[in-house]
């Protein structure tokens, strides 16, 4: 594969996997290209990002995993996005968490994070402070993780009489195909905290 084509494929894959990152071995499998060639192209790509002033993103290598990130000097620009109330980026995270809780309550933070694939403590904090969700109990087991559920204010906010009025779910979203991992992680954390 010629270098340019390989670079474009690497960029597309890096872009799509997001914060998950992807390693050389995975690239090599997906593209059926030798690891060495991949590494060379990745380093080329990095140089290209770094050296071009037009680029706002760059390539980061953390623990063998590659991911695209914004350049460090973009921090101020991105901060504005956080401070600007018209941007939806932050409320999106909260909305996702709220949606999961609405449909899967009672649910723990770990389960929510597993579904979203990202840390969710801040959005949970936000929603609690807005009284849209609340602690409704504790999960069984040693961890006794907090179980979250929606509040009356939640129903009020969305103009619902009861939870039954929520529109039907996209079936595949919350199917428990990750339950194995869930279960394992829960047991795992339980076991670990009980060791002390």
């Amino acid at each position: 594969m010629n270098l340019e084509l390989l670079m474009s494929k690497l960029e597309a894959l890096l872009f799509v996997v997001g914060d998950e990152g992807i390693n050389v071995k995975q690239f090599s499998q997906l593209l059926e290209v030798e690891s060495m060639e991949i590494e060379a192209a990745l380093s080329e790509l990095k140089t290209y990002y770094e050296e071009s002033n037009m680029r706002g993103i760059t390539l980061k290598n953390l623990a063998g995993t590659y991911q695209l990130t914004t350049k460090t000097d973009m921090a101020d620009t991105i901060k504005k996005l956080v401070e600007n109330p018209t941007s939806h980026v932050l409320s999106t995270a909260s909305l996702e968490v709220l949606a999961i809780i609405a449909y899967k309550q009672p649910i723990t933070r770990v389960e929510i994070e597993d579904l979203r694939g990202v840390k969710s403590d801040r959005p949970i904090q936000t929603l609690v402070s807005r009284a849209l969700i609340q602690e409704v109990g504790r999960a069984e087991g040693t961890g006794r993780a907090i179980l979250y559920g929606t509040t009356k204010e939640f129903l009020n906010y969305f103009g619902l009489d009861s939870l039954d009025e929520l529109p039907p779910l996209p079936e595949q979203v919350l199917k428990d195909d990750d339950q194995e991992t869930d279960l394992f992680m829960t047991k795992f954390q339980e076991a670990f905290s009980s060791e002390e």
Partner: protein
């Protein structure tokens, strides 16, 4: 003629009629009712596994067709015709059906266009927004968009789904490639180094699939046994921290019984 017609091949009685009209090369503006009705009834006979719910709709249409057919057989009285020129057209018993068919056909074709757009769009991938929550100042928790409604929630779930689709297979691939404990021990030590020698326990598990998690866990236990790392927890239920206690030469980690 083959009667191997499946019900789900048609999205309703109008769809079936359009199919027949097309296949019999009938002029939609001058439908031979006897022929079409006969064919239609043959077809619904052939569709053996009719769900009751849908069957009724096909049967209602059959009744409509029969009614139109019989009305066309009725002689038109001269006198009635003269009453008003306008009604000549409206008197054709087929008109309502034809109108319906033509109107329906428009949207059926539009649906085909949508299908094309759908498959074009499926060639293009985006990414979820970055998690910026760590950037917000503590005192100002993320504001909730005041205009969100229940449907925005569904939308949010839809996005989670799309993302999960991209995440999952990558992990299954990882599982297949047989991670060794040796590799994972290196990985753990390396990430600890990159975190400055101390890391939250959960940070050492950026993995999705079970096998990797288990192997990583075993590697941590092995590293603890060898006193390369230690684990601490300040208070009950708080996050565990893993600390890199000593720098190990690489070859020392190579001796693992697997």
């Amino acid at each position: 003629m083959s009667y191997e017609v499946k019900l789900d091949a048609f999205s309703g009685p109008l769809d079936l009629l359009l199919h027949l009209i097309h296949r019999l090369e009938i002029d939609i503006y001058d439908i031979p009712m006897a022929e079409l009705t006969g064919q239609y009834i043959d077809h619904i006979h052939a569709m053996k596994v009719l769900e009751l719910n849908e069957a009724s709709e096909y049967l209602v249409m059959a009744a409509t067709l029969l009614a139109i057919k019989s009305r066309m057989l009725l002689p038109i009285h001269e006198g009635e015709l003269e009453d008003s020129e306008f009604e000549v057209e409206a008197l054709d018993p087929r008109e309502e059906l034809v109108n319906k068919l033509i109107e329906y056909k428009k949207y059926k074709e539009a649906a085909v266009e949508l299908k094309l757009l759908e498959s074009d769009r499926a060639l293009v991938y985006t990414r979820p927004p970055s998690d910026l929550s760590s950037m917000e100042p503590d005192e100002q928790l993320a504001l909730f968009d005041a205009s969100v409604n229940v449907y925005d929630m569904i939308s949010a779930l839809q996005k989670i789904l799309r993302r999960k689709n991209l995440r999952k297979p990558l992990s299954t691939r990882v599982a297949r490639q047989e991670i060794s404990m040796k590799d994972q021990m290196f990985a753990v030590v390396n990430s600890l180094r990159s975190f400055g020698g101390r890391s939250a326990f959960s940070e050492l598990f950026p993995y999705e699939d079970k096998t990797t998690i288990i192997v990583t866990f075993l590697s941590i236990l092995e590293l603890m046994k060898r006193q390369v790392i230690s684990v601490e927890q300040q208070n009950n239920f708080e996050e565990l921290f893993v600390i890199l206690d000593k720098e190990v030469p690489e070859d020392e980690l190579r001796t693992v019984d697997e």
